[in-house]
Symmetry: C2
Subunit: 161 residues, 2 copies
Amino acid sequence: ARPRVGYFYTGKTGSQLLTEKIKKIKVAEFTSMPVVVQDSATVYEAICTMFLEDVGTLFIINKNGHLAGVASRKDLLRASMGKQEINSIPINIIMTRMPNITYCFKEDFLLDIAHILIRKQIDCLPVVKRSEDESGFDVVGRITKTNITKAFVELAHDELL
Amino acid sequence: ARPRVGYFYTGKTGSQLLTEKIKKIKVAEFTSMPVVVQDSATVYEAICTMFLEDVGTLFIINKNGHLAGVASRKDLLRASMGKQEINSIPINIIMTRMPNITYCFKEDFLLDIAHILIRKQIDCLPVVKRSEDESGFDVVGRITKTNITKAFVELAHDELL
């Protein structure tokens, strides 16, 4: 029998193939390392960590190491504008706390996360996994608009196809 | 003569078609409205504008209306942490100023801007056009990682293809 070589008609157009590729990208392929602080930290310590690690969003963990809150540059800027001394305010006063945190899992599709970032107007989601004792979530990564921008660039370079 | 209908072999694969589409997207298709403050504003006024307009980056214009500087949330957070009173510091002391500003034009390709945002680790570029008297740049838009994220989502929905 002759080997089957050459082009075969799949019934799909180029753009259908493209959208299928985009829809298959998982969070795990683009996640960054998370930056966390303890919920006992002060706002001042949180801001220092944010500058040292050069991130736009911090995740706050409780004494069990589980996700307790999220603080953005905007939250910290608002706090530092206030009347109170940032050395004396604990980060857990100003953070967004569970269960109001939007999070995602490594197995989620990047496209769904991109939708959430736009719809909820947030810059960053924690990537979590359920803790072994099932009492909370461990933070294992972060997904930002920078990660989505990287996916966009790689799509154009055919690296994901 | 028979009408030419059906599929034709173009010599291009689906992924080549995709990358060509991505490479053709222009800045103009995704630009947002810029938010500007006068260079005579104080840091405090700039922070208020940032919260009111809910943007991550402000553009600072001089008395001729030309682009003079850029200030990010990070710049304003650093300033508000300092010893000085933010009511008395002018924004033009802390802003990144010309000629150190990276800018782009409406006709630029979005993919090139995505590369610049990642390589230079910045969140936002002003979209400019040369002023009529050629003495500076007028700010006509802004491109952020949010805009790139929107392009990514629209690609998946076939809206750009």
